[in-house]
């Protein structure tokens, strides 16, 4: 075979998870010294694709070529040996080990012969890497003690430490501020200039425009196309990603905004957020946005009592409310749709019906025993109402696609009589069809008089759905914007600008 101009080439990759086809006949080509953006909606299969490249997942079908030679990675170490390094989207670290160890895990520096780890050398090099990335914490710090953004920096340092020829970054900027992102751009460019190739996944268009020369788009697990960044218009790219014009996705209906349901004042939790305040009214959709790790989830969780706050107060329907747990919150009429539906939202090994009825079991209990007939009737009614695609209510939730799983989580909330719905990233990892169904549902619920808090990282979603938007950054609300005059720029400005609170120079002096 002739010497290939591509360092990496994948053909016809298909990867199936139980119930989900995460990749369906996907193609990809990467040139030497290129920064290649990989884009696509949530759940399009990007992260899965990365894991196929790095040998974490074995694809059911397809071939992979490295410098024109066919390779077959059966284990992550194979990929590492071949010079591929990855920064995974979900921070994959060892909280009980030091930063140095996290950086060098898998490729520790050892003395030849004795196999002794060269700690001082590793600490030194880790320190150097961190300094280059503008971080200030000591490499001897325990990983678990760092914030999400700091952990993300360590992940980047990890990829840099191996001197890789192919570097894959899965949403590395998601938790970073403007300055930190800028630092990352510079480093990426330097690496590219030194001959490395980079695959860069991001939902932020500006990342792509700033860095990449090529862009590949996946949609619904399928390969859509590859373009030169200069050759494709922003609109075409969106159509490629979403599959249709974005406007028709958001069926926002006008709801009558009623009385105030919820007022939060000066809410704070040490180490997570502080001085958070907002109000929510009947029929209103309040957006809560910001970078990953900004503290939105934490705020929502304290509202339903999963976590405890230590400052401030919550006024619900005119009275101060302190709930001790989700059950009490449900009793009072506050429901929470958690961020991670597989870990927090569903009992995966259970059927659809059982999942739906879990929050309100006592409703179907007669003299102690569960009345199965009644339970199944309600499960059926609600599963149909949210139009779950399945044959029967006995189908296991684990066999459903992401979107349908999310619908089941919605159905769970509908069993209780609620006034406030807190939806944490309700469309994360959901296919387009299900997405619009979920948006329609949210709209209908608002019309029906619910007060809704919609947490989302997706700009179009926030802009398309919300009546008001609160933007969080590093645990504080930095702006509350009205529907009128709501622009992407305004939100980005509020969520990414890091003048003020974060000050690396000052911290560096200390460390």
């Amino acid at each position: 075979m002739a010497e290939s101009e591509y360092v990496l080439e994948l053909k016809g990759i298909t990867k199936i998870f139980p119930g989900v086809k995460a990749l369906d006949d996907v193609y990809f080509k990467l040139k030497r010294g290129e920064i290649h953006a990989l884009m696509g909606e949530n759940g399009a299969g990007k992260s899965t694709f990365i894991k196929v490249i790095t040998g974490v997942h074995a694809p059911e079908e397809g071939e992979m070529f490295l410098n024109g030679r066919k390779v077959d990675f059966t284990h992550p170490t194979d990929a590492q040996k071949a010079g591929i390094a990855a920064i995974y989207q979900h921070v994959t670290n060892y909280p009980d080990l030091t930063v140095t160890e996290n950086i060098f895990m898998g490729h520790e520096k050892v003395q030849r012969g004795t196999g002794r780890i060269k700690w001082s050398e590793m600490h030194q090099e880790a320190g150097k890497l961190l300094k280059e990335l503008g971080a200030s914490f000591s490499p001897k710090t325990l990983m678990g003690a760092l914030s999400v953004a700091e952990q993300q920096i360590v992940e980047i340092a990890k990829a840099l430490s191996v001197d890789a020829k192919i570097i894959i970054m899965d949403e590395p900027t998601a938790a970073l501020t403007k300055n930190e992102s800028e630092e990352l751009y510079r480093i990426s460019e330097r690496l590219r200039d030194n001959g490395a190739s980079i695959i860069f996944i991001s939902h932020r268009f500006e990342d792509m425009y700033r860095l990449a020369s090529m862009v590949t788009v996946f949609r619904d697990s399928k390969y859509i196309g590859t373009w030169n960044v200069n050759e494709i218009s922003n609109n075409d790219l969106i159509v490629a990603m979403v599959g249709r014009e974005i406007s028709q996705l958001f069926p926002k209906k006008e709801a009558r905004i009623g009385e105030e349901l919820l007022r939060v004042e000066g809410l704070g939790k040490t180490g997570y957020f502080g001085d958070v305040g907002f109000t929510l009214r009947r029929g209103e959709i309040l957006g809560l946005t910001g970078l990953v790790g900004a503290g939105r989830t934490e705020v929502c969780q304290t509202l339903v009592g999963v976590e405890k706050f230590d400052k401030g107060k919550v006024i619900y329907k005119g009275k101060e409310l302190k709930v001790r747990g989700p059950r009490e919150a449900l009793r009072h009429g506050i429901g929470y749709l958690p961020e991670d539906r597989q870990k927090q939202g569903l009992v995966l090994q259970w059927s659809i019906g059982r999942n739906i009825t879990l929050p309100t079991l006592e409703k179907y209990a007669k003299s102690g025993a569960i009345n199965t007939r009644k339970e199944l009737d309600i499960a059926k009614r609600l599963a149909e109402k949210v139009s779950v695609k399945a044959k029967s209510v006995f189908d296991l939730v684990s066999s459903l696609s992401g979107g349908n799983q999310q619908k089941v989580v919605f159905a769970k909330l509908l069993t209780a009589e609620l006034d406030v719905l807190i939806l944490d990233e309700p469309t994360k990892g959901v296919d387009v069809g299900a997405k619009s169904a979920i948006y329609e549902m949210i709209s209908d619920l608002a019309v029906a008089g619910y007060g809704i808090i919609l947490v989302s990282s997706e700009m179009p979603e926030i802009i398309g759905m919300c009546d008001r938007v609160a933007v969080m950054r590093e645990g504080r609300i930095t702006a509350t914007l009205d529907r009128k005059g709501l622009t992407q720029e305004a939100i980005l400005q509020a969520s990414m600008d890091d003048s003020g609170t974060r000050d690396h120079a000052a911290r560096g002096a200390r460390a």
Binding site: V56, Y94, D96, M105, E108, G271, Y272, R476, R510
Partner: protein, 345 residues
Amino acid sequence: MSAHAQSVKQAEQVVNGGRSMSAFIAKFRELGLLAFIVILAVGVQIRNHSFLTWENLTDIATNTAILSILAVGMMLVIITRGIDLSIGATLAFAGMVAALTVKHNPGLHPVAAVLVGVGIGIGCGLVIGFLVSWMKILPIIATLGIMNVFRGFTFEASGGKWVSAHQMPASFKGIATGSFLGINNLILIAIVIYIVAYYFVSHTRTGRRIYAIGSNPDSAEVSGIRTGRILMLVYTIMGGLAGLAGVLWVSKFASAQGDTASGYEMSVIAACVLGGVSIAGGVGKISGILLGSILLGILNNALPMINVSAFWQMFIQGAIILIAVLVNALVKRGIDRNNLMRRKI
């Protein structure tokens, strides 16, 4: 704006203090255990003046040596989020086979006897490692079942008989009673094992990976650590150490019985827990388990010496374990709280 700047500064001071504070508290755990041991020792010394004598300290060290050797293996197992309930049985089995071997071959070199025991132990460990890493059986269940099986083997091997002192050659008994440079062999063996273990867990890749798979098995998976092999290794080390302990035990007490060390696994686990090894995995220090073993050793030695009624001894040991783990938990919370305070919002 200036108010803001000031608050930033204040926050920084808190952060600054917080960081050194948390480092201090993290150290405090071992120091606290040490302090507790010292206070206990002084208290006992006041009641009985022969406590802090060279001879008694040597006795404590000799009697704790076997426990502390087992604690090393158990620590590794617990760090990987496992547990091994079968070590008492493995110890007995290996000890019995070694004793039977020397009984029938009195001329055998003691090192060969040790190797026999260690070999049996490694075999037992491999079986458990296979069940845990290949069959994916939960360690607590696998070792619970295996414990019965090995105990049965021990009885079967001996045919219900004991191997007693006069059936063991002096050279074999000398393994535990002999000394080198004036230090008892058991203590020496324990010291060597601790040095090797320290080097292993903090200066070799494999050692660190044991911590990694306990700290976050999912990350270990994506970063290419061969979890199965490491689990296999850990249980094999545990088995090997239990085998060694079996030979030492039999040599020390000059007697091999079917029910040797029955229930001893609980003491070993207690030593680890006292030493700050976290059942949740990923956490555990050699210095910690050394102190944990010593604390248990001192309790075993001191309670009889200060005439604590035999009927109170069990309660006191349990209470000390409970208090130690509760204090440990509270200290850990303190550290976490400090880490949170350190974060800026």
